[in-house]
C-alpha cells in the first residue's frame, strides 16, 4: 500500500537579513535596489557579491525524507531550532518548501497553536464555530460535535460569555476541545500540550491516545519524551534541519538524549555580578553559580533525571563572619517551589570565620525531579537574615532518562523515587 504521506528531499531556506533586513524592507529601499541593479550589472560582478553577503541564508530544513504509513503515530524530536516547526508548517501548507515535494493521500489538519483565530469579543459558542471553520471543519460537522466539544472543554455555563472574560485555563480548554474534535485522516500537532494545568494536560494526552488508536495518522512534536514514548510507535530526530534518526520511539529518544549529553558544555557558569534584578541589603554579594554533574563534568544541555547535581555558589563576604548561609530554591515552570536546599540543613557545617571571596558548594547526589525546566533562586543569609537574593538566577533542565533501569520513562507526577514492587505469597492474598 502506498504511504499516506511521502516527504521527499524537503529543504527550506530562509533568508535572514544581515545589514539590510528583508523583513522590514521599506519601499524606498526596494526602489533603490531596482534602480541601482542595472547600474551594478554594468559595473561588474563585485557589486552583486556585496549584495549577496548582506543576506544571511539559513537552511531550516535540509534534505529531509520520511514515509508515513496510514495509522502511524510518529513523534518528531529535536532541540529548539532543529526544524520541527518548519517541517510541520510545510506539511500544513502554511509555508512552501524551497526544494522537494510532499505527497499527501488524505485530508490533513494541523494544530500548531491552541486557539488560533479565537476572537476575544466573541462568545464561547461563536468561537467554537469560527475556530472549527478555520481549522477546516464544515458547519455541519461542528454542529454535530458541538455538545461533545462543550462537554470536553467543561465550559457549559459560560457558552454565551465573550471569551475575553474566560480564565486562561478555560480558554485553553475550549481551544483544545475544538481542535481535538477535528476529524482528518492525518493530524499534525505541535507542542500544544505544554499549556494548561496538569489534569487538563493529562486529558489532552488521553484524547491524543484515543485519536491515535482510532487508526488515524498522527505527527506529533513534543519536548515531553514521556508523551512521545507513550503515544508514538515511531519517532524521528531532527538536528540542525537534517533528519538524523528514524526508528522506534524508544530508540529515537535514547538517540536524542545521547546526542544531548555529548554536546560540549557552555553556559554551566552563570555570572551574577551584573544581575540588576535582585534584593541586596548592603551590596551585590553573590557573584557566580556553577553547575556540575557526574565526575565534576560541567552541566551542558540538561541533567538526566536522578543524576548528581553540584552547584558551586561564589560570593563575597564583606567582613569576617561565621554565621553565613546559602539557599538554593528550585521552582517549576508554574513558579511553584519544588525543593529548597539550604546550608542550615547541613549537619557538619563548620563554625570557622570566612572573609572576602568564598565558594560554597551544594551537592545533591540524585536530583529526582521530573523532566522539565526549573528556575533556580539563590540567596545569601548573613546572621540569619537575607543579605542578597536573586529570584531567577539560573535555569536548569531535567531530561528524561531511564531512571528505573527498565527502559520506561516516567511520565507523571512531580518527582521520581526509587521504589520496588513484588508479589506476596499466594497465601497472603486471601
Amino acid at each position: 500500500m502506498e504511504p499516506i504521506l511521502e516527504i521527499r528531499n524537503i529543504s527550506k531556506q530562509y533568508k535572514l537579513g544581515g545589514k539590510r533586513i528583508r523583513k522590514t524592507d521599506t519601499f524606498r529601499e526596494v526602489i533603490h535596489r531596482a534602480v541601482s541593479a542595472p547600474v551594478r550589472a554594468i559595473a561588474g560582478r563585485e557589486a552583486g557579491e556585496v549584495e549577496k553577503e548582506e543576506l544571511y541564508e539559513f537552511w531550516a530544513l535540509k534534505d529531509v525524507s520520511v514515509n508515513v504509513n496510514q495509522g502511524d503515530v510518529i513523534g518528531i524530536i529535536g532541540r529548539n531550532g532543529a526544524g520541527k516547526s518548519t517541517l510541520l508548517k510545510i506539511l500544513s501548507r502554511i509555508t512552501s518548501p524551497t526544494e522537494g515535494t510532499v505527497t499527501l493521500r488524505g485530508r490533513l489538519a494541523s494544530l500548531l497553536e491552541v486557539g488560533t483565530g479565537f476572537h476575544p469579543e466573541l462568545t464561547g459558542r461563536e468561537n467554537i464555530f469560527l475556530n472549527g471553520a478555520i481549522l477546516g471543519m464544515r458547519r455541519v460537522e461542528i454542529t454535530k460535535r458541538f455538545d461533545e466539544i462543550v462537554a470536553f472543554a467543561e465550559v457549559e455555563t459560560f457558552l454565551d460569555t465573550p471569551v475575553k472574560h474566560y480564565s486562561s485555563g478555560m480558554y485553553v480548554r475550549l481551544a483544545f476541545a475544538v481542535a481535538a474534535h477535528l476529524d482528518p485522516e492525518i493530524l499534525v500537532v505541535d507542542e500544544v500540550l505544554a499549556v494548561g494545568d496538569l489534569s487538563f494536560q493529562k486529558k489532552c494526552l488521553g484524547k491524543m491516545g484515543e485519536v491515535s488508536r482510532g487508526g488515524r495518522t498522527v505527527l506529533f512534536v513534543s519536548h515531553n519524551m514521556a508523551a512521545i514514548e507513550n503515544l508514538c510507535s515511531r519517532a524521528i530526530v531532527l538536528h540542525q534541519g537534517a533528519l538524523c534518526f528514524d526508528g522506534t520511539s524508544k530508540d529515537a529518544i535514547q538517540f536524542y538524549l545521547n546526542s544531548l549529553s555529548t554536546q560540549s558544555g557552555t553556559g554551566h557558569v552563570v555570572e551574577l555580578s551584573g544581575v540588576g534584578d535582585r534584593r541586596s541589603i548592603i551590596a551585590p554579594l553573590l557573584r557566580r553559580l556553577e553547575f556540575l554533574t557526574q565526575n565534576e563534568q560541567p552541566l551542558a544541555e540538561g541533567l538526566p533525571i536522578g543524576s548528581r547535581l553540584k552547584v558551586k555558589v561564589y560570593f563575597d563576604l564583606p567582613k569576617a563572619i561565621s554565621d553565613f548561609n546559602v539557599g538554593l530554591g528550585f521552582n517549576n515552570s508554574y513558579g511553584q517551589r519544588i525543593f529548597t536546599a539550604h546550608s542550615v540543613f547541613e549537619p557538619n557545617r563548620s563554625e570557622k570565620e570566612h572573609e572576602g571571596a568564598t565558594v560554597f558548594s551544594c551537592e545533591i547526589p540524585s536530583f529526582t525531579l521530573m523532566p522539565g525546566e526549573y528556575t533556580v533562586k539563590v540567596w545569601l543569609d548573613l546572621k540569619g537574615s537575607e543579605a542578597d537574593a536573586i529570584e531567577d538566577a539560573a535555569k536548569i533542565r531535567v531530561l528524561e532518562s531511564d531512571f528505573y533501569g527498565t527502559g520506561k520513562v516516567p511520565w507523571n507526577g512531580t518527582l521520581v523515587l526509587k521504589h520496588r514492587w513484588y508479589l506476596e505469597q499466594a497465601a497472603d492474598a486471601k
Partner: protein, 274 residues
C-alpha cells in the same frame, strides 16, 4: 477514507494559477470570516450598526454645506443631498474596504502564520462585512428618496451591476495593497492619503459633467468613477455616459484580476515574513 484524494506540495515560485476549486471547498470559511467581522465590528459601541449609515450621512451633510451652499456646486438634477449621498454610499464602501482589507493580513497575522486556508479570504472577508454596511446605507437612501419625493426609475435594475463593480474595484485594490503591506508597512501610511485623494478625482461630490469633454476619457480610467456615475443613474435616474461606465467597469474587472494574480504570487512568502 477517500482513496482518490491526493495532494502534492511543491516549491512555489513566480506566477500561479488561481485555485478556484480550493476556494470553493473553503467557501464556508469565507462566510464565517464575514460573519465574524460583522459581529465584532460594532461590539462595545453605543450606536452599533448605526455607524454604518452615520458615516456617509454625516459626510453628506458636511459636503452639502461646503460644496453646495458655499461653493455652489450643483447636482445634475436631483436635490444635492440625494445626489451627494448616492455617490458617498459606494465611495464610503470603497474607501473603508480598501483601508480595512489592506490592513487585514497584518491584523490577522496569527492566522497567516499558524493555520492554512486560502489567504485571499482574509481581505475578501473584510470587504464582505462592509458590503453589509453598504446595504444598510442603501436602506437609509430609500428613506431619503421618500422624504424628497424623488421617484425610482427602472434604471434601478442596473444597481446590482454597479454593486459588483464596486466590490471588484475594492477587492482588486485591497488584494494588491494587503499583499504589499506584508512586506512594506509603508502601505499603512499611504492608504489614508490615497483614499483622500481618490474622493476628489472621483465625481462623488460634483457631477461627472463638470469635467471638460476632452478629459472625460480620464474618468474611465478610474475604476470607481463608473460605479459612482452608475449608482446615480440607477438610483436617481441621472444622465450617464455608458462609454465612461463601460471603460471604468472594465478597469474594475482588470484591477480585480490583477489583484488576484499579484496576491497569489506574493502569498507564498506571507508566513515567512509577516
Amino acid at each position: 477514507m477517500s482513496t482518490t484524494f491526493e495532494l502534492t506540495i511543491k516549491p512555489r515560485k513566480g506566477w500561479q494559477a488561481i485555485d478556484f476549486k480550493e476556494a470553493y471547498v473553503y467557501r464556508e470559511l469565507l462566510a464565517f470570516l464575514v460573519w465574524r467581522d460583522v459581529k465584532i465590528r460594532y461590539r462595545q459601541t453605543l450606536l452599533g450598526g448605526l455607524w454604518a449609515i452615520l458615516q456617509p450621512f454625516i459626510a453628506m451633510l458636511i459636503f452639502s454645506f461646503i460644496f453646495n451652499r458655499l461653493a455652489h456646486v450643483q447636482s445634475d438634477g436631483p436635490p444635492y443631498k440625494l445626489f451627494a449621498y448616492a455617490g458617498l454610499a459606494p465611495w464610503t464602501f470603497f474607501s473603508t474596504s480598501v483601508t480595512q482589507s489592506s490592513n487585514s493580513l497584518i491584523a490577522n497575522h496569527q492566522l497567516v502564520s499558524k493555520v492554512y486556508f486560502p489567504r485571499i479570504f482574509i481581505p475578501l472577508g473584510a470587504i464582505g462585512a462592509l458590503l453589509v454596511d453598504l446595504f444598510l446605507s442603501l436602506g437609509l437612501f430609500g428613506v431619503m428618496m421618500l422624504y424628497y419625493h424623488w421617484p425610482l426609475t427602472l434604471a434601478v435594475l442596473w444597481l446590482p451591476l454597479f454593486i459588483v463593480g464596486a466590490v471588484l474595484a475594492a477587492a482588486g485594490t485591497g488584494l494588491i495593497l494587503s499583499a504589499l503591506n506584508v512586506s512594506f508597512r509603508d502601505v499603512k501610511y499611504a492608504v489614508p492619503f490615497m483614499v483622500q485623494m481618490g474622493l476628489f478625482v472621483t465625481p462623488v461630490i460634483y457631477p461627472a459633467h463638470y469635467i471638460p469633454e476632452r478629459w472625460q476619457f480620464l474618468l474611465g480610467l478610474n475604476p470607481m468613477a463608473g460605479v459612482v456615475i452608475g449608482f446615480r443613474h440607477a438610483l436617481l435616474g441621472s444622465p450617464a455616459s455608458w462609454e465612461v461606465i463601460g471603460v471604468s467597469l472594465a478597469m474594475s474587472l482588470s484591477l480585480f484580476i490583477l489583484g488576484l494574480l499579484i496576491f497569489r504570487r506574493m502569498e507564498n512568502r506571507f508566513a515567512d515574513i509577516i
